[in-house]
Symmetry: C2
Subunit: 327 residues, 2 copies
């Protein structure tokens, strides 16, 4: 099986590559070849027995999508995206990569399909940013797409393209609406959602963290390991039962900030919790007020997608995957 | 007030032009200038006191959208589209006009906005084709966009763009999801929805008509006069109360084919009804099975959009507007 990952150098892309290398197979078929693409050339993974090609490519540039499609990968994971904050600051770049890049990739596949009937499985990472307030406390699977950012708009448009290209028979597509990833590894960043990870990751490492919102704020989370699990599962199941609705909200853990903090206390003690300083930030509070709190992700669950069991588990996963198991 | 109509030569475009000429004003402001654009040059309307410019332009061609925007119309009605059947047959043409054309128009406005703060009211005709089965019997305003055609996909993508360009402050946009237009004037055509009009229009003119589906089929209708009324109303109201959800399902008349036929009987008698021949067509039946039956168009009604009062009224409107009042 030949698997291409577009956006392979990002956080999820690297973890997905590592998981495929470690598993050596996908849905029971051995992985014989990996094509890893990103705007910066992805690293060659260690310990993979098959062929690996890495390349730097901007999918919004002419001809780049065709290059990815040329060796006819069986599965294409399309993770490449300009993130929410940057897409909001740079209107043209966001539409260029998130909308045009996605469309060019799908178009390259369509042209290959017209040539020789090529029809790969395409796993597209969408986001709960396709939803925006006002919405019910628990959002059902058939809720309106109401993005409140350009990023969410571009992801929603990608979802619509994916469904239409699938209906037309050019691809066998599935869109995965990822929850907010928590605990995101690495350095603190300025994303409005950064504190959800920061208030856990920093204290776990003995560092102080700032909480800019009241601890009553509720949100929808998945660990990086679960997110990779969703993508692997999506590429391995029969997609026919999805019918025409090819984009799925993933299950997650709905938790208040207070519940996050209590999970931290259970696992790392009061000393860790004392490293969190509450500094209300009205701007962040306003942004977060428009975000979803919980979903009834019934369709995804019925199809076998599995979320983290609890916030305690999310923290334990972080300690295992990012801290070599040592608190 | 300067009003531009993109797609002015189509059925709705011509009726909208006639209505604006007849009213001489929009929301209390005199109409001083009309710019009429379509792929074929629209006719100059009779009896208009102001300035009229007509031009032939394909909005998907480079520079054409900028030409429309250059004189800074106060209101732009964007009606131009490749219809459902053609967009399904010609994939590239459908995406070219319905998606790229719409985006190029919005982009030309954005660039003008960056130049001098230009921010016109944009009224975009969308369609109930943004919805596809399975759905509830009565579809609520917050239902998922689930198109089952490329046309519906392109309209849904246009809706998302309209909302994002509005949120960004480039346009003051509103998307109007038109019901199926009934009674559509003119010759019978091969559109799958053609019979909804044909079984009334042809018998009213003393001609036979074919009914390809059971008379229990229920659908959502508006007269051409109501459709034009929706567009005029949309351009005249304050759009701020819409918030971030700028696309509205229009009110309509939900009727079964049997109810349509009984309305025909009340107005034109048994002889007219006898001209309808039932010839089941499995293909049409399958297509129509995926169409919406009724909507709870609450938001639009609260904003003052008014549907036809009954199917009898829809037929009477046709007799007045298309048959000079003579049955």
């Amino acid at each position: 099986m030949h698997i291409a990952i577009v956006g392979a150098a990002g956080m999820i892309g690297r973890k997905l590559t590592a998981r495929l290398v470690s598993d050596g197979q996908l849905a029971g078929r051995p992985v014989s070849r990996l094509s890893l693409v990103d705007v910066i050339e992805p690293a060659v993974p260690q310990g993979f027995g098959g062929r690996v090609d890495t390349s730097a490519a901007d999918i919004s540039s002419p001809g780049q999508a065709a290059r990815i499609v040329k060796p006819r990968p069986d599965v294409i994971f399309h993770l490449a995206a300009i993130v929410s904050g940057e897409a909001e600051l740079d209107f043209e770049k966001g539409y260029g990569i998130n909308l045009d890049g996605t469309r060019l990739l799908f178009e390259a596949i369509r042209l290959a399909h017209l040539e020789d009937g090529y029809r790969p499985c395409v796993v597209f990472t969408s986001s709960i940013a396709v939803f925006g307030s006002p919405f019910p406390e628990v959002i059902p699977d058939d809720f309106n797409l109401t993005p409140l950012t350009s990023y969410g708009t571009q992801k929603a448009m990608g979802e619509l393209l994916l469904a239409d290209y699938t209906r037309r028979g050019f691809i066998d597509g599935i869109g995965i609406r990822l929850p907010t990833i928590c605990i995101r590894p690495g350095k603190p960043n300025k994303a409005a959602s950064g504190f959800f990870s920061g208030i856990l990751r920093e204290p776990l490492a003995g560092q102080p963290a700032i909480l800019p919102v009241p601890d009553t704020v509720r949100h929808w989370h998945a660990s990086p390991r679960s997110a990779v699990g969703f993508l692997i599962h999506a590429a391995g199941i029969d997609l026919e039962p999805l019918g025409s609705r090819r984009n799925l909200t993933m299950p997650g853990v709905s938790a208040t900030v207070a519940e996050q903090i209590e999970a931290l206390r259970r696992i790392a003690g009061d000393d860790a919790v004392r490293l969190i300083r509450h500094e209300p930030d009205q701007l962040v509070m306003n942004i977060v007020a428009g975000w979803p709190q919980a979903f009834d992700a019934r369709r995804a669950k019925e199809l076998g997608f599995v979320a983290d069991a609890s916030f305690d588990d999310i923290i334990r996963t972080h300690i295992e995957d990012e801290m070599e198991g040592n608190l």
